[in-house]
Symmetry: C2
Subunit: 334 residues, 2 copies
């Protein structure tokens, strides 16, 4: 592959001049530029970013850490980030972690060896996280997405998970529901799931309703009717379910319907995330919408700001309750 030196020779100028023709065209006489470009075209010259990056100590590459692309939330947000990044001249080097802290660490190390300019990550648990401390210590720009750290002034972009689930619960209560449960994946795996549970509990307590323990599914995005059944069979059956994400909600609705229960006539269901697909379903999925586009964009802009030396701050974006046919009023008042 031809390099700048060859182009320069062909154009009858020095390497420096040839380089300038590309990076600082205003410093070079137009005719000279033309000669350089002509030579470049003729030789099929393609600038080598590696050389430039090595020299300038900046790659214009952002490392992205995502739990999984199988969940549309992350995929859709990645899509938004990719567009935002490209607009600003940055490329994305991505990796999936499956919420495994060990993988997280390995991959970050790998990304840093590639000399990414900064990191955008969604980690399993942001509290007491050794990896984040290390990044802090090394002064490496990073920004968390979805993770919510209210305690410290951590650089993150997210919605107010507690408030969001509070609002969703409130909505059900206003429709007359009292026996409301919250369904989630294993062990409230993520820090934000915990906050959502808090929001649920607060709303329940505020109305002197009973805040129940989490209905814990074996998988993050898949319902198990066996786990669900006991809550619907007893003498005070649940009339509404809050789910920690949309895929889980959709799965729950499917299970309910297969068991002969009508949604929302007998059980109302609310999801979390507001994935696009939810609106297409019948019944359409009522869900707490996280503004994924805005989150993706804010993440990129925020990281660039950090790299530019700005102070880290927690950016809370507004959530919104998207109404849907999966929720209805309490059929029989009690």
């Amino acid at each position: 592959m031809t390099d700048l030196a060859t182009v320069a020779k062909q154009a009858g100028v020095s390497r420096a001049t040839a380089a300038r023709a590309f990076s600082q065209p205003d410093l070079v006489r137009p005719e000279t530029s033309q000669k350089v470009f002509a030579a470049a075209r003729k030789l099929g010259f393609r600038p080598n970013h590696l050389g430039r990056q090595l020299r300038t100590q900046a790659t214009h590459i952002i490392g992205v850490l995502i739990p999984s692309l199988d969940n549309p939330v992350f995929a859709e947000q990645l899509q938004a980030m990719e567009v935002a990044a490209r607009e600003r001249g940055y490329a994305l080097l991505i990796a999936t972690t499956d919420y495994d802290p060990e993988r997280e660490a390995d991959i970050v190390e790998e990304l840093l060896r590639q000399r990414v300019d900064g990191l955008i990550m969604t980690v399993a648990d942001a509290h007491e996280n050794a990896l984040l401390r290390q990044l802090d210590a090394e002064n490496i720009p990073y920004l968390l997405v979805y993770n919510q750290l209210d305690t410290l002034d951590a650089p993150c972009v997210c919605v107010d998970n507690r408030q969001a689930m509070f609002d969703a619960t409130r909505h059900l209560q206003q429709l007359g529901h009292r026996h409301i449960g919250m369904v989630a994946g294993p062990m409230l795996q993520s820090d934000r799931a915990k906050l959502r549970y808090q929001g649920y509990c607060q709303a329940m307590l505020a109305q002197r309703h009973v805040a129940l323990p989490i209905i814990e599914m074996p998988q993050h995005t898949r319902s198990s009717f066996e786990v669900l059944a006991p809550w619907l069979d007893n003498d005070t059956p649940l009339t509404a379910l809050l789910c920690s994400n949309d895929l889980l909600a959709i799965s729950v609705i499917g299970d309910l319907q297969r068991a002969g229960l009508r949604v929302p006539d007998q059980v109302s269901v609310i999801g979390f995330d507001g994935i696009a697909l939810g609106e297409q379903l019948c019944p359409s999925l009522c869900s707490v919408v996280q503004p994924r586009q805005a989150i993706g964009r804010a993440a990129v802009e925020g990281l660039l700001a950090l790299m530019g030396g700005e102070q880290a701050r927690l950016e809370k974006l507004p959530h919104q309750l998207r109404l849907g046919e999966s929720v209805g009023p309490l059929p029989w008042p009690n």
Copy 2:
């Protein structure tokens, strides 16, 4: 950031020796290695891939071109590729094109400037594609995914789209359906959508059924009931619909149900892709499953093979019809 020279000095050896301690440990005395590693740890040394890549002329990075991450098919397949690539020591630099040929070209150029070792792409139309010709001419290893070029020996990984849709149509016919339509996005946008339509037509002709024109939706993944209604209202209403992708199928089912039609009692629906979510729905989605895991893996392995000098070939992976509750027998024989 500390570099190899510093580490070498600290360890009391030459740069070359320090380098070898990392890349060819067997060429260096164990004690010496230890000294180097100790120094590296002490100094917080992190190998700089840019230096290595510039020198070795290989990045171990694969450029990935995807139409959109908003469609779970691509997201799930990207997930599979990421895992497969990492296993083989490769990272993924990704970009989305929104099926825009201009973006496709720009992005490929950008990726090549970054000196990716090869490209994995899903392009809008692989026939008569100038970009692909250019890559051929420059001898740059690339591999297409989902795109199906039967004519030439193009490097691609896909299912047999024609046969797959043929099978799906056949399945409906065997259940007694005769009035079967195919629903797709605008203008059979992609080359594979055309092949799928061919499969539908062939199956219809084979049974002396009438192959209808495409029922064309304004969007790739969203149904419009206005477009659908005329086909269900007339004196020979359709009793089954084939959809060009799962998101569209789900949207179609939602529209039908909202219009008071029962699925599958009145209308059967089959999707294409077999996204994970489809199994959760009620009715569960009958769909032609593309083996996304296998496709992702085959794409990575295939590209590495190409880079290793092997001959390009079209790799067809087996599709499978996943049965589901969205399809039923013809209720009233005619």
